[in-house]
Structure formats: structure tokens, C-alpha cells
Symmetry: C2
Subunit: 212 residues, 2 copies
DNA sequence: CCAATTCCTGACTACAAAATCAGGAAAGCT
DNA sequence: AGCTTTCCTGATTTTGTAGTCAGGAATTGG
């Protein structure tokens, strides 16, 4: 996922990466304690002891897996930085478009935020510091600026940011529920297109001051 | 919470109820395996063995705690049944208003749906069967009818229902995140009022066909 | 007030999962 | 190829948690 180096990764680094990928998927879907080292090992095709060779303990593995997401966040930040002279509302819309695309490609991000954001505690603090704090602050500033410019309705900017993102990842995070409860798969191309349209055009327009 | 009987509860039933309340809070915030029987016992002020006296095992305690929520759902259903001749869109709006109110009073419901809806598995199936399946189906039918009547924009009705609810409980479920990341408490009266307004008037209006 | 029943507990067992470690296989280097 | 380092594993220990049980306390009904 990260592919920071161009040089072909050594064998060890390749294994560690595979482990991180499996760990990220499981941790984000199930939460820290529902996941077992044995389960990750099996899924990654290595012994359980190998996990402890590459990562000191379960907690370090969790952190390492999360840090793989920071590359994704950084990529998003670069796009936004390039548009930082546009109107706040346009930037916000662009940010949401990027977030939706990102959430389909890396559903682990939204899941982790939901999981740890409900539980609170040390891991949430860690995520805030290392993964999403800066990003969320930036979005809140954008929303606040858009309100000041008279483009967004004057709701608390923190609520706008959280609610928009919660709405955006709803059907993505809850894909198992949709499959089990509605026998419908939200990840088909048509559904994804309708979803992006619904969030960016329909829902978002409800927050925009008329005539903007 | 349920208070099904009026007769003063016996001592045992009172303890069992307190245990269920603690269990519901913890299970919904942390998920099944992050919660320990010892932790529940401590919080409820009883010994761990007492939990096993009242409930066969951890799984049964989980189910019992969830069933306390079914009384809340039933109450919601009664209100909706009384309005079942109104226009579909009005019913949907009313359902969302009820849901928001319910979610502030019983935040465990939204959290549990988020938690188990992401993870999938047996507990999700159980919840679908015993708690929310019928309710979600009803909402989807409402959305479908509102679309057919030309009142709602033609997005997949399942997506509309899930997205609206995800948006509605966003700041409620993620209260720990909002406190840790933004140093703001979403549960103050002003915030709650702004929140209801944002969901019901702003966001929802974005889904409504203009001129309705 | 006494007996019967319900309720609760401390001490224990069983078990699953995390963590450790000595040793051997594979990869990389000269 | 031969040597060195990196990588991985099976077997084992340690730890935390679910679940059991015999016995005692509290409550209830007569």
C-alpha cells in the first residue's frame, strides 16, 4: 500500500507488509480485542511467532497497521493543498469527494474512526495525534470559513464535518449490515456512483445557503 | 428502563436490571469481546459470580441487554403506526425525528448497530431478527413509497435509510471523538437543538424533490 | 420469629490467547 | 561455495478471562 521505497523490498519487509495489511483489515472491521494474533497469522500465512518477530507486541502491530493509513491521508492532503486558494466551500466539496473515493478504496479508515471514536481511550488519542487530528482540524476550519463567507448554513462546524463524514461512510462501513439485512451489496459500481451523487449533490446541497 | 411491571420488583430482578444496564452501556460502547464480565460486575457493584447467577453466560447477558432496547423500538413503532395514513415523506420525517430523540435518550442503540453492522456475523443476524430488521424494512418501504410519489430523489431506498441514520447518530456515537479531538461536547442542549435542525431540515431537504 | 427460598460470594478450574525462546531454514554477500 | 545475517517456526510459558461450585447471607412468606 505505502510503497515508500522504490527498491525491491527485502523478504522480511514484504512479510511485515502482508501482516500489516491483514491486521489493518481485521482490526478495522472487528476492533482490537476481537482480533487474535493467531487469526492474523493464519490469514497472512505465517506462524504466530513471526508476528512477534516483526512487531514487538499486539499493540505495536496495531500502530504499525494504522500508520499504513497515514500514507493515504498524506496523499489526500497533497491534493487539498494544491487547491488551497479556492473558495472554502469548493475546497470542502473537493475534500468530501476525495474522502468518498478514499473510503471506497480504503474502507479501513472510516471503520477505525467509527470503532475507536465510539470507545474513546488511549487508542483514540493516538489516532488523533498520528492520523486524523490535523486533518479534522483543517476540515473544521474550512467549514468555519465557508460559514463566515455566507456559503454554508451556520451549524457548529465540528458537527458539519463529523456528520458529513458519518453520512459518507455509512453504507460503506455498514456493508455487512446491508448485505445481511437488505440482501443488497452497496459496493457495486452503480451503487457507488449513486452514493457519491447522493452525498455530494443531494445531502451537501441541503447545507448550502440558497443562491450560492 | 423497560419497567414492564408496576409491582415493585424483587431484589433479584432489580440487580439483574442494573447489570443489564451496565452491560448495555459497555457492550454498545466497546463491543462484545472488549468487555469483561469482571468489568461489568465491578461497575454494577456485584461479584462476577452474580452475573452468572442471573445470566447463563456472557452471550445470554448480551442478548438480555439488547432486548432492553426492544422496548424502546416498540415505543417508536407505536408512534409511527398512529401516523400510518400520512404521506410517505411526512412519515419518514417523523420517523427520523423520533429516531434522533431516541438516539439521544438511548445512545446504545446507534452504537450497537454501528459496531455489529461493521463486523457482521451471528450477533448482527440476531439483532436483525430480534431488534431492527422489521424496523429497517418499514423505513425502506417508506422511502420507496416517497420516491414513487415523486417526493424523494430516486436514490436506492436502502442507501437513503442507512445514510440518514448514519448521519443522525454521527455526532452522538462519536461523542468521545468530539470531546477528545475538538474539545467540544455534542450533548449540550444548544448542540442537540442545532443537531436536530441540521438533520431534519438541512440534510433531509437535500434529498427532497424541489417544489414538494 | 422461624423456616424456606432466593440471592450472592470467594475460591477455584478450564481455557484461550499473548508472549518468549532456542534452534533451524532461507536469503544475501564475498 | 562458504560464511553471515536475516528470517521464521514449534514448543512452551504466562496471563487474563469465562465459567463452576459449595456455602453463607439476605429476603420473603407463614
Amino acid at each position: 500500500m505505502t510503497q515508500a521505497r522504490i527498491v525491491p523490498l527485502g523478504k522480511g519487509e514484504r512479510t511485515a507488509q502482508r501482516i500489516r495489511e491483514v491486521a489493518l483489515e481485521q482490526f478495522s472491521r472487528l476492533g482490537f480485542e476481537r482480533v487474535t494474533m493467531g487469526g492474523i497469522a493464519q490469514e497472512a500465512g505465517v506462524s504466530q511467532a513471526t508476528l512477534h518477530y516483526h512487531f514487538e507486541d499486539k499493540d505495536q502491530l496495531w500502530r504499525a497497521a494504522m500508520l499504513d493509513l497515514s500514507a493515504v491521508i498524506a496523499e489526500e492532503e497533497r491534493f487539498l493543498a494544491a487547491a488551497k486558494d479556492a473558495a472554502p466551500l469548493d475546497q470542502l466539496r473537493m475534500a468530501m469527494r476525495l474522502f468518498i473515493d478514499l473510503s471506497w478504496r480504503h474502507p479501513a479508515l472510516g471503520r477505525i474512526v467509527a470503532l475507536e471514536g465510539m470507545a474513546g481511550g488511549e487508542r483514540l488519542d493516538w489516532l488523533n495525534e498520528h492520523l486524523m487530528g490535523r486533518r479534522n482540524d483543517r476540515l473544521v476550519r474550512l467549514a468555519r470559513a465557508a460559514i463566515a463567507a455566507g456559503q454554508l448554513k451556520p451549524f457548529p462546524p465540528e458537527h458539519i464535518v463529523i456528520t458529513l463524514q458519518a453520512a459518507a461512510v455509512g453504507v460503506i462501513n455498514l456493508a455487512p449490515l446491508m448485505r445481511a439485512g437488505f440482501r443488497t451489496d452497496p459496493a457495486t459500481p452503480e451503487h457507488r456512483a449513486a452514493h457519491e451523487h447522493m452525498i455530494l449533490d443531494a445531502l451537501l446541497s441541503g447545507l448550502i445557503v440558497d443562491g450560492t
